[in-house]
């Protein structure tokens, strides 16, 4: 078979991605159709920059999700095919059978794996970690930042000192110290996971309690139910194979295996924990600053005069009014997390060596960069467009939220 020309490659890639285009068109048609009823999200479709950014982000989200469902990929991202090493884009697959896709659309990498399939699978690696890591970082930052800003005093001094302590650490040094097999063996990441993942429980618990404590009947029904589910998830998250911490020297038993629906591989957990750990101090500082500003407003004074409790004021008066900057920062933080994940992959930390994530792929590809461009450039552009999309989205949201 003849190698494909550039146009044919582009055509085939666009065809492979057709579920993504389909989903994007439906999403945009629906959103633009109902944009007046969708609040801030609807207003996003008034700003061209926001729309472009949102499009880029959703493109990668859909690609990641469909890729995880094995829909877009043409080959197994881990399988090596002999004779396909470093082959240029559009090369026909060596010894392809009827069932195989006949071409390597973006060529083969230095281990003769399909670059296109690895790119698509790499999108899923980012999509499954980055937003969740940002959510957890926000939970930690908000739960600590609100009281620090609201109460001030010694609590504020202590927490700010701790936050500055983490911020003064060069991120890469921290990663090198935390994300090594030796540290994983000591169980330090598990301890950190146990501490960091507790914050969402505190956050939701206090949020619901402060809202419903005047109506004990509702509270006694809602609070145990919600907290029960979250705590169950928490225990599933932190316990692995029946143990909270399982080192050669000692182990702490956790949730029995019967109740444990999923296990997070140690490598992913340590990456997740360290990314959350690095991000939360910045969120803390932002939330603290916003709280310091908002607590001087009249509606906070009004709530205090009404006799509302401090946590009610923090979570139901201050937090909703700080949402604008927080939503914008949330988008930027997902982008930053993506960059951090790429950095981890680039230094070969944490993620398994076969992993198709973009950072590792760039690192593998850069060694032969002066001869073969195609293994390194696609993941580089993918990462670039995703982070750019998130930045543009944040910019669009900022502009639209300022218009009120």
């Amino acid at each position: 078979m003849e190698p494909l020309s550039t146009f044919e490659i582009a055509g085939r890639i666009i065809y492979q991605l057709s579920p993504v285009w389909f989903s994007l068109v439906i999403l945009y048609a629906a959103s633009i159709g109902f944009k007046r009823r969708l609040g801030l999200y609807g207003k996003l479709f008034d700003s061209p920059i926001g729309m472009i950014g949102f499009g880029l982000v959703m493109f990668w989200v859909f690609t990641g999700i469909y890729g995880a469902m094995d829909m877009i990929i043409t080959h197994d991202p881990l399988v090596q095919v002999s004779g396909m090493k470093n082959k240029v884009p559009g090369t026909p697959m060596n010894g392809a059978t009827e069932a195989d896709y006949p071409y390597y659309l973006l060529g083969g990498d230095n281990l003769a794996r399909d670059v296109f399939s690895r790119l698509v699978k790499g999108a899923w690696e980012v999509i499954k970690i980055a937003p969740m890591a940002a959510v957890f970082a926000f939970m930690v930052g908000i739960t600590l930042g609100l009281p620090a800003g609201y109460y001030g005093g010694r609590l504020d001094t202590t927490l700010s000192f701790a936050a500055n302590l983490i911020l003064a650490f060069p991120v890469i040094l921290l990663f090198y110290l935390l994300v090594t097999p030796e540290i994983v063996a000591t169980g330090v990441p598990n301890y950190m996971a146990i501490v960091l993942f507790i914050f969402p429980i505190i956050f939701v618990g206090v949020l619901l309690n402060s809202r419903y404590y005047t109506r004990p009947k509702v509270r006694n029904l809602v609070l145990p139910l919600v907290l029960g589910i979250i705590i169950w998830f928490y225990l599933q998250l932190v316990s692995n194979g029946g143990y909270l911490i399982n080192t050669p020297a000692y182990s702490i038993p956790g949730l029995p295996r019967v109740m444990d629906m999923f296990d997070i591989p140690g490598g992913i957990l340590v990456v997740f924990v360290s990314v959350v750990f690095v991000n939360s101090p910045t969120v803390f500082r932002i939330v603290r600053g916003l709280t310091l500003d908002i607590k001087t407003r009249d509606y906070v004074a009004a709530a205090q005069t009404r006799g509302e409790g401090p946590w009610y004021i923090m979570l139901w008066e201050i937090l909703p009014n700080a949402r604008g900057p927080l939503i914008v920062d949330f988008c930027l933080r997902i982008g930053y997390t993506t960059i951090l994940l790429g950095t981890l992959g680039f230094f070969g930390l944490g993620l398994p060596p076969e992993s198709p994530d973009w950072g590792s792929t760039i690192n593998d590809g850069r060694k032969l960069l002066s001869i073969y461009l195609h293994p390194a450039l696609p993941p580089a552009f993918a990462l670039l467009t995703l982070v750019l999309g998130l930045n543009l989205l944040a910019d669009g949201l900022r502009e639209e939220s300022l218009k009120d």
Binding site: F161, L165, P170, L173, G342, T343, A380, L384, V387
Partner: protein, 350 residues
């Protein structure tokens, strides 16, 4: 002002102590020490052999006492072996008289940074040499980054919403969205590979350590500078647009001052206060960029020894690296605080 600097220095010292203790704690966890023993001794050591190696080389004992020794507030360890006396403050095995003459304390407070197990050399000489390389890199990064970022920011913020503003803002968003390992790879691909064929620059900066030229040094400098540039430019733009809507600018305009003069004489000085702090706070990120770029371009500087030390659990080198980087970060924070107070008359006078 004096009290402020004193208090900040106190906090800084406390931070440095806490951070070095964290690094010390993490590098001295048992699995790390075991790995160190096996790489230094041999890989087939039994558990007892590892334990005795660690004890003979001063890695035994409690975490706090080892940290105190490293700091120089506790006396260094000594052991008596068949070959003579060994200890923290002695090199190799020495006789009893020499052991008596050796200093009791030798930590960083005495200026002794320890011995690198990876490079087999004194940590202080390694750090000094590599820091010089990185210093040169950083200097050119700042020379390139700061003026261009300020120029872009001022040009964009001069007339908010204009075509210049839109295109420059988009460009700065683009650079903030491009981490060093992405832009570096793209630059190497475009400007150095034989496939594209431009071959304007060199893909490695190894030769730049002895003989930096435009050809081998520009790409690493550009790669680091670009990532930081966008952020500073956006901050400058925000501060510039804010100043341009201020009352005194309107007054100047109504008086008939030319646009040129308004920007240069009235707006610029007030608009540059905020970017100053931002540039100073950008240093921790530059440090990250340095590590990535030095790995990417094979330039053996400070970032490169960080990677080497961390990869080989070279405890004393790693501690020295973290001391240096933490001090760089904290001192720039201090300068940014002092500079902010000094530049902003409203704070200075009150």
């Amino acid at each position: 002002m004096g009290l402020f600097i004193l208090r900040r220095s106190g906090v800084m010292l406390l931070t440095a102590l806490c951070l070095t203790f964290i690094v010390f704690f993490l590098t001295n966890l048992y699995p790390n020490l075991e790995k160190l023993a096996k790489t230094q001794g041999n890989f087939r050591m039994s558990d007892e052999a590892v334990a005795s190696w660690l004890d003979a080389n001063g890695y035994g004992g409690s975490m706090v006492s080892k940290y105190g020794q490293w700091l120089g507030v506790l006396p260094g360890w000594t052991r008596e072996t068949e070959k003579g006396f060994t200890g923290r403050c002695m090199t190799g095995a020495v006789s009893a008289e020499e052991a008596n003459e050796a200093p009791t304390f030798c930590g960083i407070l005495q200026g002794d940074w320890g011995y690198s197990t990876r490079f087999k050399d004194e940590v202080s000489t390694i750090i000094a040499e590599r820091l010089g390389n990185t210093g040169r890199l950083m200097f050119w990064v700042l020379v390139l980054m700061v003026p261009s970022a300020l120029l872009i920011g001022v040009l964009a913020g001069m007339r908010e919403g204009s075509v210049t503003d839109r295109s420059l803002s988009t460009a700065s968003i683009l650079t903030t969205a491009t981490p060093e390992y992405v832009s570096g790879v793209i630059f190497i691909a475009v400007f150095t590979s034989s496939t594209v064929g431009l071959k304007w620059f060199k893909g490695t900066a190894t030769s730049a350590m002895d003989n930096p030229t435009f050809e081998n040094f520009f790409l690493p400098v550009l790669t680091i500078a670009l990532y930081g540039m966008g952020y500073i430019a956006r901050m400058t733009r925000a501060s510039m647009t804010e100043v341009m809507t201020a009352q005194y600018i309107r007054t100047a305009r109504l008086k008939g001052v030319s646009f040129h003069n308004i920007v240069l004489k009235h707006a610029l000085r007030n608009a540059l206060i905020a970017p100053f702090t931002v540039i100073m706070l950008q240093f921790p990120w530059l440090l990250n960029g340095v590590v990535i770029v030095e790995t990417l371009f094979n330039y053996k500087g400070f970032g490169w020894i960080l990677v080497e030390a961390a990869g080989n659990n070279d405890i004393e080198l790693l501690l020295a690296v973290s001391v240096v980087s933490v001090f760089v970060v904290l001192i720039t924070q201090l300068i940014s605080d002092i500079g902010y107070v000094y530049l902003n008359p409203r704070i200075r006078i009150s």
